[in-house]
């Protein structure tokens, strides 16, 4: 089949630009992912080119593995809490920063010092997650020398085992993740709010809408698309949390597996147990979980786009 000249001219030009990034993407992303699917069906130990195909054995073992289910359960809990809380806090802050200050000289503006807050909220996002982990090691130290516990000690509260109480540890980690994540979403939602024409808010304001109405009736529906994007990001983040668990939890995932997550188990299975096949099977399971989540979210939260 001959490709007509105009088509070639149009798409050939675009393709020429795409060829390098596409090649990189295929070599470094697509092919390793496909290889994980292949490895998941083998008993590879990762250090020898010899391995055998074992069919779905790895998946059978996986579904009978208590630690795997503990990790899945943790992801579901994180998935319920992390996005909602982060988005709620971020929306609240970005509303205050952009529109919450009332009308000045006929224009809606943020609360006093909102420029400063914007920068401060974004700070944690600038820090590498490993640094966040090290910082929180000091903050959450379980004895009275911990920063948080020594503050509590001033008001007479006994040290709290933030990361050593199996019932509390996971929520502490989620708290750290929220602390780190909020800033980014404040900036994201601020951008979303900035793209909405000011007249809309001002009109509502003139019509007598209070801050509450302004937020729930006007702002939220208008930035819904952005919120939806944030939701997908955070949902995917809920399937990660590797670095925080790795740096903060007792013995990586403890106490008693109460904080373990799939990426950590994948890492441990591959690089401590040298079971690359089994580890890949976990990875495949994770891929399906993330894909399912993303597809569901996009479907459920689909709304009509509002044209300004």
């Amino acid at each position: 089949m001959r490709i007509s000249r105009p088509v070639l001219r149009k798409y050939g030009f675009i393709a020429a630009f795409l060829i390098v990034p596409l090649a990189l993407y295929i070599v470094f992303f697509v092919s390793p992912n496909l290889q994980a699917f292949q490895l998941a069906l083998t008993n590879s130990r990762g250090i020898s080119p010899d391995f055998a195909y074992v069919g779905f054995d790895n998946f059978r073992t996986l579904f009978a593995d208590d630690v795997f289910w503990a990790a899945v359960r943790h992801h579901l809990l994180i998935l319920l809490v992390l996005p909602i809380v982060t988005i709620a806090i971020a929306l609240f802050f970005s509303f205050l920063i952009n529109l919450g200050g009332g009308t000045k000289r006929g224009q809606l503006s943020g609360v006093l010092g909102s420029g400063f807050y914007k920068v401060v909220f974004f700070f944690p996002q600038v820090l590498a997650v490993a640094i966040v982990g090290v910082l929180f090691q000091a903050i959450l130290r379980p004895d009275k020398d911990g920063i948080l516990n020594s503050a509590l000690g001033l008001v007479g509260i006994d040290p709290v085992g933030w990361l050593i109480n199996p019932n509390l540890a996971l929520w502490t980690l989620v708290g750290v993740a929220i602390w780190q994540g909020v800033g980014f979403y404040v900036v994201l939602f601020s951008a979303g709010m900035a793209s909405v024409p000011k007249e809309v808010f001002e009109a509502a304001s003139i019509d007598g809408a209070g801050r509450f109405t302004l937020f729930f009736r006007i702002t939220l529906p208008l930035v819904w698309n952005t919120v939806q994007v944030g939701w997908v990001y955070l949902g995917i983040a809920a399937f990660d949390l590797f670095a925080l668990v790795q740096t903060l939890s007792v013995d990586r995932g403890g106490p008693d597996d109460s904080t373990t997550v799939l990426p950590l188990e994948i890492w441990r299975t591959a690089f401590t147990y040298y079971k690359f096949g089994y580890s890949s099977a976990m990875g495949v399971a994770l891929v399906f979980m993330v894909l399912t989540f993303a597809a569901l979210t996009l479907r459920v939260t689909r709304r009509e786009r509002i044209e300004y």
């Binding site: 130290r141 007792v250 040298y274």
Partner: protein, 484 residues
């Protein structure tokens, strides 16, 4: 790359475990799968003397040619290489003044020497250590290392009526075994002891004595607690293995080393044996004296607390004093005590300690001056050689009674005393830690659960047995066995 001796000791030990894994035989897992050249080539010359034609005598048991050059490669890490250039090599030269010694102190043992092994142009002594080291299992598999049995059977330099094997800490030779059938290919030279560490000055001031039984342990703990000091603690966050070492040592003291061999060999019911149960019960009692917060601290945090006088006893190995050197106040004097006896009917006496040898030295089988290489190791194993090493590196060697006349640090003095008191009562090192990582991970988890009061000793044993059974049933994990 600077590495503290303590790190080396531990890493060394881990590698030693890897090496000994090959004792196991055909199913020897990861390492042997690298050693693709296969087992059958035990082409190591039986006695190297024949090949170079020097005359052997009582003082020259390997028949070293007096003028044959010797090439020594030393890992220049935490121990540096001065102990070789300023002690061992001059000692060798004293015996053979005509021999020229070519010395190389490097950090990249593996990268530098792999091509030389491939071409057959190898040094005569290699200190195979550091992160970039040679794969000992692969070398053994390829017949590249010399069987050191003649060395251990040779007369000792200090007392020709004794064999070298009788002048070193029991277990040293076994720790360097590899291949199938197992032979000693590696000389592990540095001695590490494990036990309870305390501040001798504090104990003296308070008139406390290290406990010899668990009853004494508990009553001492009460006294220490009354002084507002935590009697005993370990770091649950990253060093729960320090604690399971103690439980395993206690189990071995109760039931003998066979208990630990059974655990390594995944024998049915090894973890539910009475000795293990009794050890776990005894230690769980001690765990009650520990604040819950220790589960969330890392080893250096707890060690610093001990230096500050907030923790009385801490489980660790003899690298501890060096590791904490910067944080130890001058009033603090490290001392080690053996773990207390659990029952009156313990198979091993209170004095028994777990000791392990690390930091490997090998002689390549294709070495041009292999007899010289063996002789060099024999010099290292002389009292003078060992003493010089300890002086230069602040670490003890496996050579018995080699610290006379040395001014040792308080910690080393106490390790030497414990080593002497233990004699042949040595608790063996557990190999499953390196062989079966899933079992080891489970043990860390359950040790914290036991010591911080979330499970009973019975549950601890049942859960560990279940994990061991799971490992045993898992066909994807290559199995290994040991007899000594």
């Amino acid at each position: 790359m600077t590495i503290t001796p303590s790190e080396i000791t531990r890493r060394q030990m881990m590698r030693r475990i890897g090496l000994t894994a090959l004792v196991a035989g055909p199913a020897a897992g990861l390492l042997s799968s690298c050693a693709t050249s296969g087992g059958g080539t035990s082409a190591a010359p039986s006695t190297a003397a024949a090949s170079t034609g020097g005359a052997s005598s009582a003082s020259n048991p390997f028949g070293v040619k007096p003028d044959a050059p010797l090439e020594v490669v030393i890992f220049k890490g935490g121990y540096s290489d001065e102990y070789a250039t300023q002690a061992h090599e001059p000692l060798f030269n004293k015996e053979f003044p005509k021999a020229t010694i070519k010395h190389q102190g490097i950090q990249t043992i593996g990268t530098t020497l792999t091509p030389r092994f491939a071409s057959g142009d190898v040094p005569d002594v290699v200190n195979n250590s550091g992160t970039d080291n040679l794969d000992g299992g692969a070398l053994i598999g390829a017949g590249q290392l010399l069987d050191l049995t003649p060395l251990f059977d040779a007369p000792s330099i200090d007392d020709p009526s004794k064999k070298v094997r009788d002048t070193i800490v029991p277990g040293t030779i076994e720790s360097g075994m590899g291949g199938d059938p197992a032979k000693p290919y590696t000389l592990n030279y540095v001695y590490t002891a494990y036990g309870l560490w305390y501040d001798a000055n504090l104990f003296q001031k308070e008139n406390w004595a290290p406990p010899k039984t668990f009853d004494e342990f508990k009553s001492l703990a009460e006294k220490i607690k009354a002084k507002n000091i935590t009697p005993y603690a370990y770091a649950g966050k990253n060093a729960s293995y320090y604690q399971y070492w103690m439980i395993l040592i206690s189990a071995a003291k109760i039931g003998g080393n066979q208990i630990l061999l059974d655990i390594d060999n995944l024998k049915d019911g090894a973890w539910t044996a009475d000795a293990v149960k009794q050890a776990a019960t005894a230690w769980a009692e001690i765990g009650k004296f520990m604040d819950k917060s220790y589960e969330g601290l890392i080893h250096t945090e707890v060690q610093t607390q001990q230096n500050q006088g907030k923790v009385a006893m801490y489980p660790s190995g003899s690298w501890l004093e060096n590791e904490q050197a910067k944080d130890t106040p001058s009033t603090f004097a490290y001392a080690i005590a053996a773990t207390p006896s659990v029952t009156a009917a313990d198979q091993m006496p209170y004095e028994a300690v777990r000791a392990a040898a690390g930091e490997g030295y090998v002689v390549p089988s294709k070495a041009k001056n292999a007899p010289g290489g063996l002789e060099y190791l024999r010099v290292m194993l002389s009292k003078e050689g060992a003493k010089d090493f300890t002086e230069k590196t602040k670490s003890l060697t496996v050579v018995l009674d080699s610290t006379e006349g040395l001014t040792l640090s308080p910690g080393l003095t106490s390790v030497a005393a414990v080593q002497k008191a233990a004699g042949t009562n040595v608790v063996t090192y557990s190999q499953f830690e390196g062989w079966y990582k899933e079992l080891e991970t489970e043990l860390r988890k359950q040790t914290n659960a036991l010591m911080f009061g979330r499970i009973s000793a019975d549950e601890f044993c049942t859960k560990m047995q279940a994990a061991a059974d799971k490992t045993k049933a898992d066909s994807s994990i290559p199995k290994q066995t040991r007899n000594v």
